[in-house]
């Protein structure tokens, strides 16, 4: 008990120091220090929350947890949520200790929503012991950090076999990598999937007996319309976020929120006001021109983004790519050669590129079939927006694809210039 109190106090103190001297809200540092003092801190705090949900997978964690958080909040459920992408144990610890009293009591949370990095997942579930676990998908991503896919699956399996508490696993039934998690007496499994899914999984599952199925009706810049249901296709819903992969994110959010006793009607009603997580198909307006920001971070997610925007691109539209190679982006930019830029180059007439590795990206789109004179590499984002304002027809919309640190820079730029009223990334992970 004393240990927990010391850990919480130390964490809160570090957070106070950081806030006072750096103007950047929370971060992973308080959690890191607190965990050093009490390695069981996450367990001790999380067990006070009646229900916990842990979400992992390569792509879609942030959007799925944001969707669950949104639906629950709209229905007056008090939540606690590591909403800033702080998805390592230290990020979870930071969030918990900031929401607890100095004596280590969590009062005001009914449901904990925890996004977990694939590698941190094992540790996070053993600490939190969540009743709801979501496995979204698994793609090759930063092999140097995560190791091979098979290794990750084995680790997940072992951790879930060891997990003795009662729980429900929500598994993407279309992803063949996630095919053989065992049903055990203390584990219920629910699967979700899309009929004739256009999403390319590394390993496609051949089992189509999902617990909840959906079919895509239409997709445009504002909405993805689907029908879905347990038996046949019962309900029609508009998911207010573009991108086929977001259908999976919705289906799993639906399943888990239903298990928390929110009715289908209430879920669909509250979904209307859902806004995409920052930089995930987020709409902006710069100098009277519409734009859509979509984070790119690995070959699969990037190819999905390209497939999503391809049908939306009109003649005068402009693609903007920002490629950085800072540590949070991955210092290896070779992944751009595994993303299928060939898919959209025939539809495009102009590409503007910036970022620390802009010339690598210029070469990538050149080799993908863009004409030299259509490719503009510029030193910074301000020059790009200025040039677009000067040279491009005002009907042309911008599709902006930044890597992770580029997204942060872009948000800061947009805020500074008054194109955005909130600086969302105040709580960036260290």
């Amino acid at each position: 008990m004393i240990r927990l109190i010391v850990a919480v106090l130390a964490g809160k103190f570090i957070a106070f120091i950081i806030r006072t001297f750096t103007q950047s809200g929370g971060s992973a540092a308080p959690g890191l220090v607190a965990l050093y003092i009490d390695s069981q801190l996450v367990h001790k705090l999380a067990k006070q929350i009646p229900k916990n949900i842990v979400i992992t997978g390569t792509n879609g964690k942030t959007t799925t947890s944001a969707m669950i958080a949104h639906i629950l909040s709209r229905n007056d459920v008090r939540i606690i949520h590591n909403s800033t992408g702080s998805n390592l144990s230290r990020g979870v610890a930071s969030k918990l200790l900031l929401q607890s009293s100095w004596s280590g009591k969590i009062f005001n949370a009914e449901v904990g929503i925890w996004e977990a990095d694939e590698a941190a997942f094992v540790d996070i579930i053993s600490q939190i012991r969540p009743a709801h676990i979501i496995l979204l998908n698994l793609f090759r991503d930063q092999l140097d950090r995560y190791g091979e896919i098979n290794t990750i699956i084995e680790k997940w399996k072992k951790a879930l076999e060891k997990a003795s508490w009662q729980k429900t696993l929500y598994i993407n039934g279309d992803d063949g990598h996630l095919g053989d998690f065992k049903k055990e007496s203390n584990t219920e499994i629910q699967t979700f999937g899309i009929v004739d899914s256009p999403v390319h999984f590394e390993k496609k599952s051949d089992n189509i007996n999902f617990d909840i199925k959906s079919q895509i009706l239409s997709t445009d810049i504002d909405n993805t319309e689907i029908v879905f249901g347990h038996n046949g296709f019962g309900k029609k819903v508009q998911i207010p976020i573009v991108g086929i992969y977001n259908v999976y994110n919705f289906l799993t959010a639906y399943l888990v929120v239903s298990d928390l006793q929110i009715s289908t009607e209430k879920i669909i009603d509250s979904l209307v006001s859902f806004k995409p997580a920052f930089g995930r198909m987020e709409k902006i307006r710069v100098k009277d021109r519409d734009g859509l920001i979509a984070l790119i971070k690995n070959p699969t997610a990037t190819t999905q983004v390209l497939e999503t925007i391809k049908p939306m691109i009109k003649k005068d539209d402009i693609l903007v790519i920002i490629l950085n190679d800072n540590i949070a982006d991955g210092t290896d930019v070779s992944w751009i050669w595994d993303a299928h830029f060939e898919k959209i180059t025939p539809n495009l007439s102009k590409v503007y590129i910036t970022g620390t590795r802009r010339f690598d990206m210029a070469l990538r789109v050149l080799y993908a079939g863009m004409k030299k004179e259509s490719i503009h590499a510029e030193k910074n984002i301000d020059t790009i927006f200025t040039k677009i304002a000067e040279h491009e027809l005002k009907e042309g919309r911008m599709f902006i694809l930044p890597t992770y640190t580029a997204l942060l820079e872009l948000q800061e730029y947009l805020t500074k210039k008054g194109y955005k009223d909130e600086q969302w990334h105040k709580e960036v992970k260290l």
Partner: protein, 238 residues
């Protein structure tokens, strides 16, 4: 004129943008007005002499590497060796490079036999060698990105691809990077390698044409402005 690019185990061995090398070969060949076709040569497919005019062999995850090693030992390894002796240009990277050497010795576990195109062997290392790499070679400065834990050592009589100017190279110890035997090249340079090293790309194309059509070939000079910009920017920052 036409070239067939043989993509060795392309379904299993293609990480860190190795596919970019195939894209680059196709792009530059097109500039030189040469038709290309990519042929996947993998487990379950047949491979015989003259099926391909250039071979490319990328890197893979450990589990794929074991399967591929077994397949090479059966029949394909022998054909690849004959083709290299015939002068066929070949580019292999990381895992592909290791499997074309004599063997790979993991930390614990059985030695993985290679096919011995290169007089070199690889031993598992304790730490990963990751980062940008620049190598001084017959093709000028070659630039790429390496990410490997295996340490490759060349025998005395084996020719290196070049000397490391920055980065780790074969083993992080002797300043050598890669290996050449006849027109076959092995190295640790992902990146992707060929897009930012067009001199090497053009050499592979030219050599393949010379072997295929059995005559001296001179490629026309083509525009490399974007390639050179990327090179210049990379070298000035590195």
């Amino acid at each position: 004129m036409k070239l067939t690019i043989g993509f060795l185990y392309g379904d299993l061995m293609n990480i860190y943008g190795d596919t970019g090398n195939i894209i680059a070969l196709q792009y530059r060949a097109k500039l030189h007005k040469i038709e290309t076709e990519v042929k996947m040569i993998s487990i379950g497919s047949s491979y015989k002499s003259h099926d391909a005019d250039i071979l490319f062999f990328g890197g893979g995850q450990d589990s794929s590497q074991i399967e591929v090693s077994k397949d090479l030992q059966k029949t394909k390894g022998k054909v690849i060796k004959q083709e290299v002796e015939r002068g066929l240009p070949l580019l292999s990277i990381c895992g592909g490079y290791q499997l074309l050497g004599e063997y790979y010795q993991p930390d614990n576990g059985e030695k993985l036999p290679g096919i011995g195109v290169f007089g070199a062997y690889t031993i598992a290392g304790a730490s990963r060698m990751i980062g940008n790499i620049v190598v001084d070679s017959n093709w000028g400065k070659l630039i790429g990105f390496e990410n490997h834990s295996g340490k490759t050592f060349l025998h005395d009589e084996t020719t290196k691809l070049g000397s490391v100017l920055s980065g780790f190279g074969n083993n992080g110890e002797d300043q050598t990077e890669g290996c050449i035997y006849k027109n076959a090249i092995g190295c640790y340079m992902h990146g992707s390698l060929l897009p930012k090293n067009p001199t090497l790309t053009d050499w592979l194309i030219k050599t393949a044409l010379q072997i295929k059509y059995n005559k001296e070939i001179t490629l026309s000079v083509v525009d490399s402005i974007f390639e050179n910009k990327a090179r210049k920017h990379f070298l000035s920052e590195d």
